[in-house]
Amino acid sequence: MADEVLDVTGLTCPGPLVESKKKIKRMEAGTTLEIRGTHAPSKKEVPEMLADQGHEILSVTQEGDVWVVTVRKA
């Protein structure tokens, strides 16, 4: 279970990227975040953007229409 959950289901471009960044910016280093969304390209782009900024991607899964990205803040 992640420390925090961010729901961006229904949001379209660039919402998932922007909201994920705003959220992780406010979190403590070492804590984990679960991001849930439906915007298809963001399933790839959100973890890429987070990994590029040094955060650790723990998992990327799909539950029906919803993708779930779990990340640990660097």
């Binding site: 229904g10 379209t12 919402g15 990227l17 994920s20 960044k21 705003k22 953007m49 900024q53």
Partner: protein, 158 residues
Amino acid sequence: MTKMALIVFSGELDKALATFVLATGAAASGWDVTLFFTFWGINIVRSENKCALEKKDVMSKMFGAMMPKGCESLPLSNMHMMGLGTSMMKKRMKGKRVKSLKEMIADAKELGVKFLVCDMSMDVMGLQKEEFIDEVDEIVGVGTYLKEAKDAQVTLFI
């Protein structure tokens, strides 16, 4: 650090949205982003309720009255249809859960995007620095934009 410096010349809603999708997406990706608002583009960052401090001449007043007053009164570049097309587009975008331009401007600021306004355009259009939204960081000349653009990997004229 990757850097993007955009020249925002156009004052239409669709082009402003494209600008802010790029700017917030890049800022979320950790890029250093600068927006240089010039010519018609300065109306995007014009405040809808702030007033000029100094008295304006007739031409400046005319410009002021004819130009859009801020991000919520910009026309579309196509299919504006006296405002009908633009309001339909806004409604449709809301339905598709695209953020409004106003929300994107707030996101951009929160993620550290720099807002520069061209001093010469401001003067030509008869606007004063007090008439812009609080997000504007600085009123500058082209030299400041060029300094930012010099080491930017991405530069676009919108």
